[in-house]
């Protein structure tokens, strides 16, 4: 097990390198110059040159990348063009706000999706199943940002129940609905497949009450594929955070990311890409480790 984790952590290095390389070159090869956002080049060419040199933009791009990489290894991602603060400080301020939104959303999603998926599968074709099947499709089809707008329209603008900004409820609901639908479908499908297995018949033939058959024998197996889905759904969860934070003006990493993109604030963009990629990869690793502990057929040592 320890070897497996070590191996996976080592694989993290080329992955992060690849991600940094793509992001860095995509940004820097784009036409235009970030200084244009802050200084009028027609007014002050001397000042412009000074700022460019200060930000390292006067160097050839591959040198810029190596300088960035060298510093990044020491966890120094440079300073934000707009605030002059170290990127790492800004991220440290914003990340907790994003996690404050994401972690409860993540937990709520599971608390709802697993029982709903299980009940839908057990009572296949009942009104419950049909209703939630339709709702799941609608949930997958609804644009997240529009859902946020509509919630804002109803609960803030019309009913005045909740403030549109500065309250966690609406962004949280938006995020949960956004990820709920897909997971419910997966849980239902996984459960349906397990319920058709021979060992479920065996469990019933043993005289176990239906409750035990479903929640012990079937669910334990149906959770195995779900663990993988958790890992795979992390990028979407982060992606959702970018949009949702922007709509609700939630002061997290996602909103900072979108703002930085508009401002061409390269160091902050790079910092956010690296941090979210790192969290996503670590999340996947955790999911794979969980996978091994819920499925005895997986043995990492032999791999």
């Amino acid at each position: 097990m320890r070897n497996y984790i070590l191996k996976r952590l080592l694989q993290l290095i080329p992955l992060l390198l690849g991600i940094s390389l793509i992001s860095f070159f995509v940004m820097h090869l784009a036409p235009g110059d970030p200084t244009a956002m802050f200084i009028d080049p027609n007014v002050n060419p001397v000042e412009l040159a000074r700022v460019r040199a200060n930000w390292g933009l006067d160097q050839p791009i591959y040198i810029q990348y190596f300088i960035w990489l060298k510093n990044a290894i020491m966890l120094d991602f440079g300073r934000s063009y707009t605030t002059g603060q170290p990127v790492i400080t800004e991220l440290a301020e914003r990340l907790p706000m994003t996690l404050l939104l994401m972690i409860p959303a993540f937990i709520l999603t599971f608390l709802i999706a697993i029982p709903v998926g299980v009940i839908s599968a057990v009572k296949k074709n009942s009104w419950f199943d049909k209703t939630f099947t339709f709702l799941s499709f609608a949930g997958m089809a609804i644009p997240t940002f529009w859902l946020g707008l509509m919630l804002m329209l109803v609960f803030s603008v019309k009913l005045h129940w909740l403030p549109a900004i500065g309250n966690i409820t609406l962004p949280l609901i938006t995020m949960v609905i956004g990820s709920l639908a897909g997971l419910t479908r997966y849980q239902r499908a996984a459960m349906l497949e397990v319920l058709n297995q021979d060992f479920i018949r065996t469990a019933r033939a043993k005289g176990l009450p239906e409750r035990t058959v479903i929640f012990k024998h079937a669910l334990r197996n149906a959770l195995i594929p779900i663990v993988t889905i958790i890992g795979l759904s992390l990028p979407d969860l982060f992606g959702g955070a970018f949009i949702i934070e922007t709509i609700f003006a939630w002061p997290g990493m996602g909103r900072l990311g979108v703002q930085s993109i508009f401002q061409r604030n390269y160091p902050v963009i790079m910092g956010i890409v690296m941090l979210s990629a790192f969290l996503i990869i670590i999340g996947n690793l955790l999911a794979d480790i969980c996978y091994g502990s819920v499925d005895p057929r997986i043995r990492y040592e032999k791999k």
Binding site: F199, R201, T202, A205, R220, P296
Partner: protein
């Protein structure tokens, strides 16, 4: 001891079992033989009351020790399944839950029906593994199904089925998925355990050879109907139905080859 009367089972528009009646006596081994789709497995599952939609028992009675199983509440039926009547299945590889230890899966049925606590049930489970001749039962009880071979898994299923000393064991083609050499080992084991514990067996197969080897009586099924029934020796030497004769001829051809 068990009497099936005028049992009919439908799957949607098709009749899987049509007006079947037969009985099983104490310590008797009754074989049900027929091609796949003849309704033999459906009968087995209906005795356990494990027929699910779209399947439905449309009429008939299944009298076990004087009570009609089809009229029992699910709560009462639960006390019969795995305790008084138990069942083993065709494919041992898929019949055990892959995520639980062998020992736990056997202990579960013991603590369920005999009210033993975890440790006692586990010890009993290990003892049962010994009974079905799993070597190093103490250690292997901690293993998971994927670490066992097919023949051993079927032994585990037998241990699980017999753990609560049932009166009837329903065996639904328990050797079909196994190698021939292992087939005879399983049959020998069933024979030995039957003498040791005393129970009746309903043995379902498409293989007349096995019927001839172990069964006291045989029921021949074709397209949901019982077409012939009698002492194994008599049916074998003097089949009344053309269908039975065909099945027996198949076996003879196979044996010659």
């Amino acid at each position: 001891m068990l009497e099936v009367k005028n049992l009919s089972i439908i799957y949607g528009p098709t009749k899987a079992v049509d007006n079947a009646s037969f009985s099983v006596g104490k310590n008797e081994i009754v074989g049900i033989v027929g091609e796949s789709g003849s309704g033999k497995s459906t009968i087995a599952l209906s005795i356990m009351r494990l027929i699910y939609p779209p399947g439905r028992i449309s009429s008939g009675e299944i009298i076990f020790n004087g009570r009609d199983l089809l009229k029992l509440a699910e709560k009462e039926m639960i006390n019969i399944r795995g305790a008084k009547i138990s069942m083993i299945f065709r494919d041992p590889f898929t019949s055990l839950n892959p995520v639980f230890k062998i020992g736990d899966q056997i202990a579960e049925v013991i603590s369920l029906h005999q009210g033993l606590n975890g440790k006692e049930a586990w010890e009993k489970a290990v003892e049962m593994l010994g009974t079905v001749k799993i070597r190093d039962a103490v250690g292997r009880a901690h293993d998971y199904p994927h670490q066992f071979s097919g023949g051993m898994l079927q032994r585990v299923m037998i241990a699980m089925a017999l753990a609560c000393k049932p009166e009837i064991l329903i065996a639904d083609e328990p050797t079909t998925a196994l190698d021939v050499s292992i087939q005879s080992e399983i049959l020998a084991l069933l024979d030995e355990l039957k003498i040791k514990y005393g129970f009746s067996i309903i043995y379902i197969t498409h293989n007349f050879g096995i019927i001839k080897q172990i069964c006291d009586r045989v029921i021949v099924m074709n397209k949901g109907k019982i077409v012939e029934e009698g002492k194994t020796g008599e049916v074998f030497s003097n089949p009344k139905e053309l269908y039975t004769k065909k099945l027996i001829d198949c076996l003879k051809v196979l044996n010659k080859v």
